[in-house]
Structures are given as C-alpha cells and as structure tokens.
C-alpha cells in the first residue's frame, strides 16, 4: 500500500513541478503558454549539453537550466506575449507557434544540420542524462524500498513550492504580482510597473519549467517533442486546481497523481491516464473556476 502511495506521490510531484511554472504564467498573467513544455525540454537539453561539454552534474545543471529556460521565457515574453495580454486564446495560438519553433531548432541543431554539421547532444534522436550514482541505487529502510532519485524529486518539488509560495505571499514583488492578477489596470494605476513585473514573473515561471526538465531528464528519454505531452498535463492540473491558486495547484497535482498511480496498478497505464482525463473533464464541468479559483481577472 505504501508503495502505491509512493508511486502516486512521485507522479504528483512531477505534475506539480510542471504545473508550478504554469500556475504562475497562466494563473498570474492569463497567458496560455503552450511552449511551457518546450521550456521543460530546453531545461532537459541544458542538462544533457552541460553534462557533455562542461561536465556538470545534476546539482549544477539545475540552476543553469533555470537560467537558460528563464532567459528563453523572458525573450518570448518580450517579443511575442507582451503584445497579446488580454487576448488569452491568441496567446495559446502564438505560443503553439513558439513551441514548434523551439522543437525544430533543437531537432535541426539550430540549422547546422543543413550543413551536415552534427552537434552531440542535439538532433532528432534520444539523449540521456546520467544521474549521480548515489541517487540511482535503491536501498531498504525497515523493509521499505527507497528510490533516492524519486525522493529527491519530491523533496526538491516541495522546496520549490515553498519558495514560490514565499515569493508570492511574503515579498513585495509577490504582492505586486497578485495585484496584477486581480486587476492589471488598477495595479498600474497604483504605480506598479506592470510590464516589468510581468516579464520577471514570466521568466520565473519559465525557469521553473527548466528545473522540471532537468529532473525529467533523469528518468525519461530526452527528445525534441518531450514537451508536448507534458504541457497538457500541466494545464489540466492548473485548471482543475483553480487559476491563480497555488494551493489549488498543489492539491490537484496530488489528487490527479494519486488517481493516476492507483489506477495504473489496478488496470494499466493507458486506462489510468484515460481515467485522469475523465476526472478532469468532470471537475472542470462542475467547477469551471477550479477547486480554489476566484472569479474575475
């Protein structure tokens, strides 16, 4: 039983990790960032490349991936999303274009493959990212098998969630973000630099995606389209949790992850995912504002 719960918990923590960045960009800024999965992918590739060329291990790759993804996110915000605030469906469409663009850049090795130049660690194939040995070997405590890497993910996710909560609810920056969430015009009228704060918020959310990418790289194959499935899961978690509610996102990631874990054992992976989608549809129909959402923006 505890094993099942642990599998569910680790699924939940990954969902939460992906959704955390989205809950900020979508929840706080009303941007449906379909390129969020690609920011995760970029984080994963940063890990692979930094391991190959700079010999960085997991712990050094994490902050680097945060910076790289945050940088890409910042650029996307400045160039594209900035012009689309308030047009939520258009942000979805434009960032879908960004997602394809980023995917293809990695797949085509930034265009180098046209000149028959191959860069190790890029291209259409699978890449793998080795995790440190002491995190990859299971060990037993009191008859309970501990998977150190999964535990590491859970601990790190909790830490990042706490950090995000702290930033959003205990700093002046967070207060400004939450003011923008409720009413951007009023926030601007009160002297908040909406443009600047939005850009930083978006960069932070993107950076979290990068961290998620590094952690995913530890147990999933790194491929250019790995972000596609990731982004949908993230959205479902955020929408079910309630737009703009960090606690809602946490709870819905926990619930959906557990449902997925339990049904994957009772039936199979495919049916478990189908059940999760069914539950999500049902919850959105019943509570379109999510479990803990507030109305109006």
């Amino acid at each position: 039983m505890s094993n099942i719960l642990f599998i569910g918990l680790s699924l939940s923590s990954i969902l939460l990790l992906i959704a955390l960045g989205l809950s900020i960009t979508y929840g706080a800024m009303g941007v449906i960032n379909m390129a969020h999965g690609e920011l995760v992918m970029i984080g994963a590739y940063t890990a692979v490349l930094s391991g190959l060329y700079l010999n960085l291990n997991l712990f050094l790759a994490l902050p680097l991936a945060f910076l790289v993804s945050a940088g890409v996110g910042l650029a996307v915000e400045r160039v594209i999303i900035r012009r689309l605030y308030g047009r939520i469906i258009d942000t979805l469409l434009a960032t879908w274009g960004v997602a394809i663009l980023l995917q293809q850049l990695i797949r085509l090795e930034f265009g180098l493959s046209f000149f028959n130049i191959h860069v190790d660690g890029l291209g259409p194939g699978f890449q793998s990212f080795p995790i440190p040995a002491f995190l990859s070997e299971n060990f037993d405590i009191f008859g309970f098998t501990v998977q150190p890497y999964r535990s590491f993910i859970i601990v790190l996710t909790i830490a990042l969630t706490f950090l995000t909560w702290f930033l959003m609810y205990r700093t002046s920056l967070g207060t400004q973000v939450r003011a923008i969430m409720r009413n951007p015009q009023m926030a601007a009228a009160c002297g908040i630099d909406v443009n600047r704060i939005s850009a930083w918020t978006f960069a932070y959310g993107s950076g979290l995606a990068g961290v998620a990418g590094v952690l995913l790289a530890g147990f999933k194959a790194v491929i250019p389209d790995m972000g596609e499935s990731v982004v949908v899961d993230g959205f479902l978690v955020v929408v079910v949790g309630g737009v703009g509610s960090l606690f809602g996102t946490l709870l819905s990631a926990a619930v959906l992850g557990q449902i997925n874990g339990v049904f994957a054992i009772l039936t199979n992976d495919i049916v478990a995912r189908a059940i999760v989608f069914g539950v999500v549809i049902f919850l959105i129909l019943l509570r379109p504002n999510g479990l803990f959402g507030f109305k109006s923006r």
Partner: protein, 376 residues
C-alpha cells in the same frame, strides 16, 4: 452604404465561384492521379478548417478537440471498409473477419466476427457499408450533442471549452489505443476495401473519388455559408459577441451554441469518412492533439471568421507542405517555418488571409467611390 455592402458581397461570391471552378476543373488540367489524390485529401482538411471556422469564428467556441469527431467518423466508416477488404474475406470464414483480430485471438476461439475476440460483436452491423456511413455522421453528432449540452448548459465558456475538448480527444484516443483487439491499437485500421456507391467503385486514385470529395466539399461550403446567413446564424454571432445580452433579449444561448457545435462535429465526421475513402486508413493519429491544433492553425491563417478563408488556408498550407516535404530535412525545416508564420499571423494578421483580402477590397471600394465622387 448599401452599395458598399453589395460590392463586398459580390467579391465574396466571386471568391467562392472561382474556388469552385478551380476545384472542379482541376482534373481537366492534369492526368496525374497521385497528385489529384493528394488534393482531395487537402480538400478534406479544408472541410476541417471550415468546421473550425464555424465553431471558432462564428460561435466563438474554440474546439481544440475537433480531431475527436474527425477520428470517430473515420473509424466508423473504416470499420465497414475493413470488412469489405479481400484480406478480411480470406481468414478462413465465410463471413469477413479483420486480419488483426485473428492475430489477437486466443488460440481455439472461433474465426467468427461475433466472438473471435471480446467485443468484436460490435463490428457485426458494420458488414453493411450503409451502416458505417450512417454511423460516421450519427456518432459524432450524438457525442457532440452530449458534450455540447454538458458544456453549454453549464455555461462553461472561453478557454475552459478548449481545455475540456482537448482532454476529451486525448481520453478517446487512449481508449481506442487500449481497445487493441477490436481497434488494432496504435496501428489503426489499414488495408481497407473501396467505397461502393450506386454501382461505382471509388478507387482512391481515380477521378471518381476526386469528384466525390470535391463536390461534397463545395456543397458543404455552400450549405455552411447559407446556415450562417440565416436568422439562427445571426443569433449565434450575437451570442459570440455578448452572450449575456443575447440571454437578456430572450434567446436560449445554449441551444444555438449546441446546434452549431453539433453541425461542426457532423462536418468533421463527414470529413473523416471522406478522408478514409481517399487515404485508405484510419489511425489514432487523427486524435493527436497536434492534428487538432493544426486545424486551428489552418483556420487562423486562412481567416477564422471566413468560411472560405479557412478552407483555402487548409488547402494552401497543406499543398505547400506537401511540395517541400519531398526530403526529410526540408520537412523539418518547413515545420519551423510554419511555426514562424503562425506567430506572425497571430501577432500581425489576426484575421488571416481573408482579413487581408477584405481590407484590400475595402481599399479598392474607397478608391472607386473617391474617383466617382470626384467625377461627379
């Protein structure tokens, strides 16, 4: 003012007529049947663009799961055609049995459609091609009605509709893959027979099939165009612009939304059926998210609020894609270009090609009016 509008409408009709003439005369210009088959597939995609424009442009409902209805239509009809294929008749039974069921069957189970694998009796009625054709339209309609009723009666709107439809198409895709013994899972239904209608066999690489697709496409475009100009179509547009105001004026907003959601699903289901005739397969990739979003891309590039714009957008994008996709690397590069085009269209041309055409028409009109008034 009245004169202006009539000029704009004239131009609109001119575009429709030009499109019909080009589409119907295309086979006269070429005898490359392979190429014609490709164009017929793109016309089917055009219908999908039309279905998106109808629900997104006219009803303001962005359906990110249109592939669900396309896929259901395709699967329903492909089941009938699968039973008509010669391989299905050669499995050692006097009645047709799909080959993949024989591979999936437990040793010792009878080679009969009723009970070869669990659930295979669902295939029994599909021995009639007419049943498959009817189901390809009816099933999308029923599903769309149930889903649409749930969504619109509960007044779910905007981005939540997009998320629900997205989750739904993924859900059904997983169910189809999971039901491997009766759907052939990831591989989908391949090696199909040909459609036979009024004694004509529709070989996908013959003119008959092209004309079947082209004429259907033109008729549906006309019907959709008529539908949005009716009173119901106008009320629908009012619900898009301000649902609450329409509600206060006494209209049952949900009823109009459900109706057009169902129409759009029926078109997608029909398109799925035509696609199976032209492409000879049905697969779970029809229910991939990327395919459903591609439809939205076509409609957006063509012009989300113009039915013919969406059709042209779909045909255009797919034709260009096909012509540059001869080599693998250009195919990947083309995807990159599509990404850039799409960002560009959303940022700078939110009304797509049709919007540009309309602006151009208006500019011509103004110039025309100016010159006549000067003369006067």
């Amino acid at each position: 003012m009245v004169e202006n509008r009539s000029l704009g409408q004239k131009l609109d009709w001119a575009v429709y007529i030009t499109f019909f003439v080009v589409v119907l005369c295309l086979p006269l210009l070429t005898d490359d049947v392979f190429w014609l088959n490709r164009i017929s597939k793109f016309l089917v995609f055009g219908l999908l663009g039309l279905a998106i424009a109808l629900s997104w442009g006219y009803a303001g409902v962005l359906n990110l799961g249109q592939g669900l209805f396309f896929g259901l239509g395709a699967y329903m009809f492909a089941m009938s055609l699968k039973l008509k294929s010669t391989t299905s008749l050669q499995q050692g039974s006097d009645k047709p049995v799909p080959d993949f069921m024989v591979w999936n069957a437990e040793p010792g189970s009878p080679t009969e459609l009723c009970c070869i694998v669990p659930g295979s009796w669902l295939w029994l009625p599909f021995q009639s091609q007419t049943f498959g054709m009817i189901m390809a339209i009816v099933l999308p309609i029923v599903v769309a009605f149930v889903v649409g009723s749930a969504i619109f009666r509960l007044r779910v709107s905007g981005v939540y509709v997009a998320i629900i439809t997205l989750a739904l198409v993924l859900l059904v895709r997983l169910l189809i893959i999971d039901a491997q013994p009766i759907t052939n899972g990831f591989n989908g239904l391949t090696d199909l027979g040909w459609l036979e209608l009024f004694g004509i066999e529709f070989d996908p690489y013959m003119y008959e099939t092209y004309y079947l697709v082209a004429v259907s496409c033109c008729l549906i475009m006309l019907a959709a165009r008529w539908l949005v100009s009716t009173r119901a179509g106008l009320i629908l547009q009012s619900t898009r612009d301000d649902a609450n105001r329409s509600r206060y004026l006494g209209y049952d907003v949900a009823a109009y939304q459900i109706f057009f959601f169902v129409v759009s699903a029926a078109i997608a289901g029909f398109a799925g059926m035509l696609y199976v005739v032209a492409a000879e397969f049905a697969s779970p990739t029809f229910l991939d998210i990327s395919f459903s979003i591609s439809m939205v891309v076509w409609a957006a590039v063509g012009g989300r609020s113009s039915l013919i714009g969406a059709v042209i957008g779909a045909v255009l994008i797919n034709s260009i894609e096909a012509s540059v996709s001869e080599t693998e690397i250009f195919k990947e590069a083309w995807k990159l270009i599509i990404g850039v085009i799409f960002i560009f269209v959303v940022l700078l041309l939110p009304r797509g090609i049709a919007g540009v055409a309309r602006d151009f028409a208006r500019w011509l009109e103004d110039k025309h009016l100016l010159s006549t008034s000067k003369r006067g």
